[in-house]
């Protein structure tokens, strides 16, 4: 499984200005999260009986899981479909996904009213199998476990390299050998489980048809969610690697990323086609010109998140230029994030609504803080563990 030629921890100065900004945002988010735990959701958020779900559910949980799809798509691509040329992106993608899901769960804990009961779905006596959320909970729990197990060989490698000859090293070797027997089965299971819950997240809002705007409500929303998760997989991995290279002062392997980017347009195109076909079949094309904020958000999602980046990524010149490639991939990622925000927040029309929901300062602070903490952790892990393919310079020193 770990077939990188020379994976190494990344050597780069730790305390850069970007690091400090992220740390400040993380600390701020932590402070506001404590405020939520001490004073309650009512004090910290703009949630209400009319809007039970807000920014934390829509952005940190739903969009977080969608964007973490880079993990399963890369795993499927590199390990199941055996495109071993792209091995170098497998570990960074896995780390990003594992952290993404972890922070989605942390965001969920902050949003739950009775967060100390979050373990309840582990008890068979509490299983309510008709619930879409039940399936999502079970899938996320198992997939998180699988991802941690998938990442364990990286830790084992680190131990074997740094504690060579010790008892820990022998333990790590044994663990690594055991894992390499089990991981092929877990990998495939992880891909299947990902498909299940990425699509089920689309089924969540279908329990409230009367409260969902017709631009987004469709019985095939689960298919659209799955297609968008697959479509965003490579763009998010490419964008992550470009950002990491940029922040670490390394040159990205642009040939590799450009080759990976070639696979993005068909997947994005498939999702775009499905969205358009859905509107046509449901005979809701007229909504595209109906005045209102929702129409604007829909067009933003379609044009900015799909049409424009698709056109860009079709061009070889764009794919081989780090800045343009990064911009195009970022647009796809933001487009999918916007889609989740649209489905869970913008499309939601409560009965008897007397106000429109807009997140509070605390909600923004916690959301941003969680993302900043995730990026910080990513930075720390790649500094200590062999995740990234080493550069020639690093190997020489």
């Amino acid at each position: 499984m770990n077939a990188l030629i020379h994976p190494m921890p990344v050597s780069a100065p730790f305390r850069s200005s970007g690091f400090l900004v992220l740390a400040a945002l993380a600390a701020l988010g932590f402070g506001f999260a404590m405020y939520r735990f001490i004073f309650g959701l009512g004090a910290a958020t703009n949630l209400g009986d009319d809007y039970p779900w807000g920014l934390w559910k829509a952005l940190n949980v739903a969009a977080g899981i969608a964007v973490a799809a880079g993990g399963f798509t890369t795993t499927a691509f590199v390990h199941v479909f055996r495109r071993s040329a792209f091995h170098a992106v497998a570990r960074p993608a896995l780390l990003a996904a594992a952290l993404g899901y972890t922070f989605a769960v942390i965001g969920l804990i902050i949003d739950l009213g009775r967060y100390y009961s979050i373990w309840h779905p582990l008890l068979p006596s509490m299983w309510q199998g008709d619930s879409v959320l039940f399936e999502i909970a079970m899938c996320v729990m198992s997939y998180l476990t699988i991802m941690y197990l998938e990442f364990a060989p990286v830790v084992c490698e680190h131990i074997m390299q740094t504690e060579a000859g010790s008892r820990w090293s022998r333990l790590a070797l044994a663990a690594d050998r055991l894992l390499s027997q089990v991981l092929p089965f877990l990998l495939v299971a992880g891909v299947v489980i990902s498909c299940l819950h990425q699509s089920s997240l689309g089924n969540l809002m279908l329990i409230a048809p009367g409260k969902m705007h017709s631009l987004w409500f469709t019985p095939v929303l689960s298919l659209l969610f799955l297609l968008s998760a697959i479509a965003v997989g490579f763009p998010v991995v490419i964008f992550t690697m470009l950002m990491t290279s940029w922040s670490l002062g390394r040159r990205p392997d642009i040939r590799l990323l450009a080759d990976l980017a070639r696979y993005a347009p068909p997947l994005i195109g498939l999702y775009l086609a499905a969205k358009v076909a859905d509107l046509v079949i449901r005979e809701q094309l007229g909504l595209l010109v109906a005045p209102g904020l929702r129409t604007v958000m829909f067009h933003l999602e379609m044009m900015g998140g799909l049409v424009i980046p698709l056109a860009l990524l079709l061009s070889d010149g764009v794919r081989r230029n780090p800045r343009w490639l990064g911009a195009a991939c970022m647009m796809v990622v933001l487009g999918v994030i916007l889609n989740r925000l649209n489905v869970f927040l913008v499309a939601y029309e409560p009965l008897y609504a007397k106000r429109t929901y807009f997140p509070s300062t605390a909600e923004f602070a916690v959301s941003v803080g969680l993302i900043a903490t995730l990026m910080l952790l990513y930075r720390v892990v790649v500094h200590y563990l062999p995740v990234f393919e080493s550069t020639r310079q690093e190997r020489l020193t």
């Binding site: 091995h87 299947v192 329990i207 689960s222």
Partner: protein, 337 residues
């Protein structure tokens, strides 16, 4: 015979006594038996907006409640009030559609409706709850068990009537709050919900749901033109335990127009189709495994000699992205610098 609320309850109980003495006991225990539940029929024209039901509800729920006289305050009707964490039922006033606002205010002709959990036959909230904290009981009440609840509030998203309220002010033990159908009271012989018991004007009738449906239709037939020819709750959202008769169109007095099927039908159909005997996930697993296995045989043919044939950590692979000169120079891996 003057069919008032109390007489009806007595008749209903007598009828039930006869039925239960048969072999109904077994089916009565099943929560899924939709016909064997209590219900309430609200006769909207009979409601005078006295709000004594709000008082009785708060008192029965154990909340600190203002004196009953304070509920005569009509100024609260200026706002449309929804049930919240301290008031599981609320009465709202709607202008009678035949009069202008000024006329309604002058002659006080409003239409009053009472909002609370309708205790659906196929509750969307119960279908949504992943830990089973919300359940439809055999007697028809949809009850909430805080001990199971995680506070995810998906039930609030699911409810097609927008009923459940939440203790957002409580940082430690928040609960979902809604009408309990006075479960303890109705479980006792001769008991009825507090709101029904206190209603002074026969706007609320408590009894067996199927009997109430019949009663409602009979009332429409016996007084032609007085009621809209529709029993709200008979079929809406798959049918509810609380039924309504109205003299004005229901959508004008705050009732959402809903389809005749439970919202959970779509989501449950989607979920069940994917997990039908686990076939789709298992087939996908099998397909991906085959692809992976087939690829492995190809890969084995392409890779260079492995340093340790038992050790599956492949260290060398032919790969167009590797720079051959460096490989050949034998640069070793190091620890972290």
């Amino acid at each position: 015979m003057n069919l008032n609320r109390r007489t009806f309850v007595k008749l209903g109980l007598a009828g039930i006594g006869g039925a239960v003495s048969g072999a109904r006991a077994a089916t009565a225990e099943e929560p899924g038996n939709l016909k064997d539940g209590w219900g309430v029929l609200m006769d909207i024209p009979n409601c005078i907006g006295c709000r004594k039901c709000e008082y009785a509800c708060q008192e029965a729920a154990g909340f600190a409640v203002a004196p009953i006289e304070s509920f005569d305050d009509k100024s609260v009707f200026a706002d449309h009030r929804r049930p919240d964490v301290k008031s599981y039922t609320t009465v709202n006033a709607f202008r009678s559609t035949t009069d202008s606002v000024a006329e309604s205010q002058a002659n006080g002709k409003f239409v009053y409706t009472k909002a609370n959990c309708l205790h659906c036959l196929e509750p969307a909230c119960a279908s949504a709850c992943l830990v089973g904290a919300l359940n439809r009981q055999p007697n028809g009440a949809v009850t909430y068990d805080a001990a199971k609840c995680m506070g995810c509030r998906y039930c609030m998203v699911a409810c097609p009537f927008g009923i459940p309220a939440y203790d957002y002010h409580d940082p430690l033990t928040p609960q979902v709050r809604k009408c309990t159908f006075c479960f303890d009271r109705i479980s006792k012989e001769g008991g009825a919900p507090a709101c029904v018991s206190i209603c002074p004007n026969d706007a609320l009738t408590f009894g067996r749901r199927d009997a109430l449906v019949k009663l409602a239709h009979e009332r429409i037939q016996s007084r032609p033109g007085e009621y809209v020819d529709h029993v709200y709750g008979e079929h809406e959202a798959g049918g509810t335990s609380w039924l309504y008769l109205s003299n004005v169109p229901f959508e004008k007095v705050g009732f959402p127009l809903l389809e005749n099927r439970s919202p959970s039908q779509l989501t449950e159909a989607l979920q069940h189709s994917v997990f039908k005997h686990w076939v789709p996930p298992v087939m996908l697993y099998g397909l991906l495994s085959v692809i992976m296995w087939l690829g492995k045989k190809q890969d084995d043919g392409r890779s260079e000699e492995l340093p340790d044939s038992n050790h599956q950590n492949v260290r060398r692979r032919t790969n167009s992205h590797r720079r051959l000169p460096e490989l050949c120079a034998g640069i070793t891996e190091g620890g972290h610098s």
